[in-house]
């Protein structure tokens, strides 16, 4: 396969599909509030970028997403560690976890907004709730994945349980934890946007809804484009962290190919 040729084919295909979109919308006289042509989306993207309105709301959504991701991940890691370390904890927490897991977490967003208000807090909590599970499950599985021979080796050296955790179980869990974090990041963004839909004073989700009410569909598409780019950048940041942390993991090549195809809720 020729890399340069494929790359240019890719770009050509993108341009061609945009051209077909533009041509079809114009030829069939589709109203702009149903499907705007890409030229209008581009114009909306340009206007908003110049006025700074996107950036202003982007920072808010980004802060909500990252704080929610941080909160959800820390709690998931702590709870996951407690469960992996003791079957007793698992026994008592298991019913709640199963119930919570089978519930669509986005359904909690209205309640969260009632409890935590229209500001930043409710978005952070919503993002944390949704991103909590993938990391919880992966932390438990990862901490339990340590090779038995390696555990025996540590035991034979008279290592304490804490040392076995720190020197063996935690590093062994890292491939699972990194995969969990990547999913959690995507979920956090979903949680923040959903909570903004329910009730917010600022953020890209709020902006989408207000444009929807004013039938500015081209403006909505512009924001969707920004959100897609944001999701890509957040994922790319985690992938580069993973490459650095998991340089020793033989499954990295395979994981790199599958990670980009994982979907969100």
């Amino acid at each position: 396969m020729n890399g340069v040729r494929n790359a240019s084919l890719r770009v050509l295909l993108l341009i061609a599909s945009l051209a077909v979109w533009e041509g079809a919308v114009r030829a069939l006289r589709v109203p702009a509030f149903i499907l705007p042509p890409p030229s209008q989306v581009g114009a909306a993207l340009y206007r908003g970028s110049v006025s700074g309105i996107y950036l202003q709301h982007l920072w808010i959504t980004l802060a909500e997403t990252l704080l929610g991701f941080l909160l959800g991940s820390v709690v998931a890691f702590v709870v996951g560690t407690a469960i992996a370390a003791s079957p007793r904890t698992e026994y008592f927490l298991y019913p709640y976890i199963v119930m919570f897991q089978s519930m669509p977490k986005v359904a909690l967003a209205p309640l969260v907004v009632v409890w935590f208000g229209l500001g930043l807090t409710s978005k952070v909590v919503s993002a944390a709730l949704i991103s909590f599970f993938p990391l919880l499950v992966n932390t438990i599985a990862g901490l339990r994945s340590a090779d038995e021979d390696r555990v025996d080796l540590m035991r034979s050296l008279a290592a304490s349980e804490l040392q076995i955790f720190r020197m063996l179980r935690l590093p062994s869990a890292l491939p699972f934890i990194m995969a969990g974090l990547e999913v959690a990041m995507v979920f956090s963004l979903v949680g923040a946007i959903v909570a903004e839909f329910v009730g917010a004073e600022a953020g890209l989700g709020m902006l989408i809804q207000s444009r929807n009410f004013s039938m500015d569909v081209a403006g909505e598409f512009a924001i969707l484009f920004i959100l897609a780019v944001l999701g890509l950048l957040l994922n790319a940041a985690l992938v580069s962290v993973r490459r650095r942390v998991l340089f020793w993991d033989p499954s990295q090549k395979a994981a790199l190919n599958s990670a980009s195809l994982r979907g969100g809720p």
Binding site: D149, D152, M154, R155, S156, L157, A158, M167, D249
Partner: protein, 259 residues
């Protein structure tokens, strides 16, 4: 053998496993001693309980009855003065070769700085100079097992337990590692208990070979190997060597065991 300098004393050792269909007797009436700086091999077919014996010696499994003393102190659990080399190298892929060797030093807080030069010296002894900062997955299987041997020696244990350390390697690598191990042992004169299912390997390496037969695991005879060291691979074809091997094999063939 100089019995006064015995490091390991095993007396009346018995191990039973509870299973769903009742208890299984894995080891019974195991008695032996190992002298200071002695290389003892335990040879037996798979399933004869030799790995169980090694786990008891390592303090990883409790014995049902009997006692195991290392330097006159009973082994009741894992101890800091035991080194173990397992069948697979069991290296940590996120640690460099040097850091893998220093794992016992980290666990037992013996001081990295004090042991760094010792680790480098041992790595040189096993022929891995220049590989300190490589990662295990950059090494061949034989090199990985040499790292594991170095790790087993770093904390200067009272005994080194080796559980079929070359069993997973191809025949040629295995022979060269047997030569290597002999060379290393001649340098450090560690007390070694070496478990294997290869009679030739046991005779080649050991001062004394303990013969183990299964169901229940028992030591039926011990054979002294009075062949001077260093032993070369040519020895494998020598009549004195063949005589000892035949004598050991007779124990297994009389019981209908392939070994």
């Amino acid at each position: 053998m100089a019995r006064s300098a015995d490091v390991i004393h095993v007396k009346g050792l018995r191990k039973e496993y509870g299973t769903a269909r009742g208890t299984v007797l894995a080891l019974d009436g195991i008695d032996f001693t190992v002298g200071e700086g002695e290389f003892v091999a335990i040879v037996g077919p798979s399933g004869c309980g030799k790995s169980t014996l090694l786990k008891i010696l390592a303090g990883l499994l409790p014995a049902t009855r009997g006692e195991v003393n290392l330097r006159s102190v009973p082994i009741t659990g894992p101890r800091r003065d035991i080194g173990v080399v397992f069948q697979s190298p069991v290296l940590f892929p996120w640690r460099t070769v040097l850091d893998n060797v220093l794992l016992p030093v980290d666990v037992q807080r013996l001081g990295r700085e004090d042991n760094r030069s010792r680790a480098l010296g041992l790595l040189a002894l096993v022929g891995l100079s220049g590989f300190e900062h490589r990662y295990p997955w950059e090494l061949s299987g034989g090199m990985q097992q040499r790292v594991a041997i170095t790790r087993g020696l770093i904390h200067n244990p009272a005994m080194l337990l080796m559980d079929e350390p070359f069993g997973a390697l191809d025949a040629m690598t295995r022979e060269s590692l047997n030569l290597e191990l002999q060379r290393i042992w001649l340098e450090c004169r560690e007390t070694v208990v070496f478990i294997t299912h290869s009679i030739a390997e046991a005779v080649f390496l050991a001062d004394r070979v303990l013969i183990m037969t299964p169901r229940p695991g028992q030591i039926v005879e011990e054979v002294a190997v009075a062949i001077p060291r260093p032993r070369s691979l040519d020895l494998l074809a020598a009549p004195e060597f063949g005589g000892i091997v035949r004598r050991i094999r007779a124990h297994f063939s009389s019981k209908g065991i392939e070994a």
